[in-house]
């Protein structure tokens, strides 16, 4: 597996898995405007998935398509970070997860706009516009709910506590990152951490939320070494039709 292919899977699986999670809200959000906004976020993420996994399939050169990669791989071949596969739980938890991802996503895409691989830079530029908007929205909602009622504050604090241990993985570099960074395809994600911490600090201050002290990080998603139990259930749903009717075209 080439380092470039692996990197593209990481990008595309993040957006695929998170897009799927967000799409689960469709028709069930607490406010009509939020229903529309969540569908919009999911739609953007699925669109980005088509680009990342499309390029991954092309780079791999084995005749697979983006759909093959999305619908015919099992858990151990997925490369999304763990944060994105965690279940929605309540609306506050969903938006906290979104914010923690969006902040990383925007920083990453900003750097990828300068990628030495023009195809990567082109996708990043297109996605960056969408993700900047996602970040604005998720940050506003985290602030609004954190600095809302006592109840909403408590729910947002517990969402942050619960999700914080999944943040660190997004910044951990391995040999795949090193190789790609040497080629100028991508940056070493650890370089993004300082900027990330500043963004998160500012938003959590406005939200009157306390960032947990610990830097403990669950890992195993982006290298596929140990996903959570949640991913398999998501894939069982998502991949049902292509798996049950392998010869069908849709």
């Amino acid at each position: 597996m080439s380092a470039l292919f692996e990197f593209l899977l990481r990008m595309g699986d993040n957006t695929l898995v998170l897009g799927h999670r967000v799409s689960e809200w469709c028709g069930h959000a607490p406010i009509l405007e939020e229903d529309i906004a969540l569908a919009n976020t999911a739609l953007d993420l699925i669109g980005q998935t088509q680009m990342w996994l499309g390029l991954a399939a092309e780079v791999e050169g084995k005749g697979r398509t983006a759909d093959d990669l999305a619908y015919r791989r099992d858990v151990i071949d997925f490369r999304n970070c763990l944060l994105t596969e965690l279940p929605n739980r309540d609306f506050g938890h969903t938006l906290m997860r979104q914010f923690l991802f969006d902040a990383w996503h925007k920083l990453m895409l900003t750097r990828l706009c300068d990628s030495s691989d023009e195809r990567v830079a082109a996708i990043a530029m297109k996605a960056l516009k969408e993700v900047s908007y996602h970040l604005e929205r998720s940050a506003d909602t985290v602030i609004g709910l954190g600095d809302g009622t006592e109840e909403s504050h408590a729910k947002m604090q517990s969402a942050l506590n619960r999700l914080w241990p999944y943040v660190g993985e997004m910044f951990e570099a391995d040999s795949v990152d090193d190789l790609n960074a040497q080629e100028g395809v991508t940056v070493n994600p650890s370089e993004l951490r300082a900027d990330y911490d500043r963004i998160v600090y500012d938003v959590m201050s406005d939200a009157t939320l306390t960032i947990p002290d610990s830097r403990f990080a669950h890992r195993g998603g982006r290298d596929g070494s140990r996903h959570t139990e949640h991913l398999g259930h998501m894939l069982a749903v998502m991949q049902f039709l292509p798996r049950a009717y392998p010869d069908a075209r849709w």
């Binding site: 469709c26 009509l32 529309i36 569908a39 739609l43 619908y71 809302g148 009622t149 039709l241």
Partner: protein
């Protein structure tokens, strides 16, 4: 259609009308649009709230049967298309609630009425979507039937409602097309897919015909609503139009409409077809459709679970206002 059996609050004989009411009717007859600030009979206002509200609720509850398949859409493209479609329906709900608000009722108020069962939504959304072909059938038949009703409603007498319809109609043709496109893939696919397509048509044909409501040629409610131009065609006219349009499409797909008496009538220039089972229709309206409980529960849960979110965001907005005032 999304507003069924709308009871009219009017029904006055012209000889009993006040001068204001006569002038009002004359404006409608002249094709003028009534705007929120204009004088209007109380019955017109109430009937419109009922109709637009029911239409809005249908858009919102209508997200659920298709939403049921978003997480199982079989390709990335299908998932994106379906998400966009269901998102459009939420947007339609929003336009319509806004139109209703111009009549002096709030969105929250309408929502409470839906959740307590005092207001209805279209019977069609109480049917389950069981296979992927159902997603195709809903777009093809349900959006198809909705278009039949919504296109003429663009000319309705109430300005905000008419403008909402114009925006909605722009998006509806894409909805129907994506549904038909799914049906096409299914009908031309593997034997299993073809079977799903036929089964979906079997299950959605009569419920789609019911969307137009029972015959209202004799109904005084219907006559008044037509005089007010908040209803443009009779239920039978629209149903016939729908059948005439849909039967050739089913033939093109190679699917069989589940009506042994369906036949082209050369003399009338229309298809003859069987009436749906109106007992079933009234059962569904009275809460005994296959999914009434699930649909209402889903909306009630979304509303109840979202209470803390709405409260939190409102409290934050109030704090922000207060801080701004203090700073000034």
């Amino acid at each position: 259609m999304y507003a069924q059996m709308i009871k009219s609050e009017g029904g006055k004989d012209p000889s009993e009308m006040t001068p204001e009411e006569v002038r009002f009717q004359a404006r409608i007859d002249a094709g003028e649009k009534i705007e929120p600030k204009d004088w209007m009979p109380e019955g017109y206002r109430k009937t419109l709230i009922r109709q637009i509200g029911q239409h809005a609720h249908s858009e919102i509850v209508g997200q659920l049967p298709e939403g049921n398949w978003i997480t199982r859409a079989p390709t990335l493209e299908r998932k994106a298309i379906l998400l966009a479609k269901v998102q459009d329906e939420a947007g339609h709900g929003l336009y319509l609630y806004c139109a209703a608000e111009t009549l002096g009722v709030s969105r929250d108020d309408l929502t409470e009425q839906l959740l307590s069962g005092r207001m209805k939504y279209s019977s069609i959304f109480n049917y389950p979507t069981l296979t992927w072909a159902d997603v195709g059938a809903v777009g093809w038949l349900v959006d198809g039937a909705a278009i039949m009703n919504q296109v003429p409603l663009q000319r309705t007498s109430y300005g905000p409602y008419s403008r909402a319809m114009i925006r909605i109609c722009k998006e509806e043709s894409f909805h129907q097309r994506q549904g038909f496109d799914i049906m096409m893939k299914m009908a031309q696919g593997t034997p299993e897919q073809k079977r799903m397509a036929q089964d979906a048509l079997n299950r959605f044909w009569y419920p789609s015909l019911m969307m137009f409501g029972p015959s209202d040629a004799e109904s005084v409610h219907s006559a008044q609503n037509m005089a007010w131009k908040i209803k443009i065609n009779t239920n039978d006219e629209l149903r016939q139009k729908f059948v005439d349009q849909t039967v050739p499409q089913a033939e093109y797909l190679g699917l069989t409409v589940p009506d042994p008496d369906l036949k082209w009538n050369e003399e009338r220039g229309h298809y003859d077809f069987s009436e749906p089972d109106w007992t079933e229709f009234f059962d569904v309206l009275n809460g005994n459709g296959p999914c009434n409980n699930e649909r209402m529960e889903a909306r009630q849960e979304a509303w109840a679970d979202g209470q803390w979110v709405r409260d939190g965001l409102m409290a934050h907005a109030a704090k922000k206002r207060a801080r701004k005032m203090a700073a000034e």
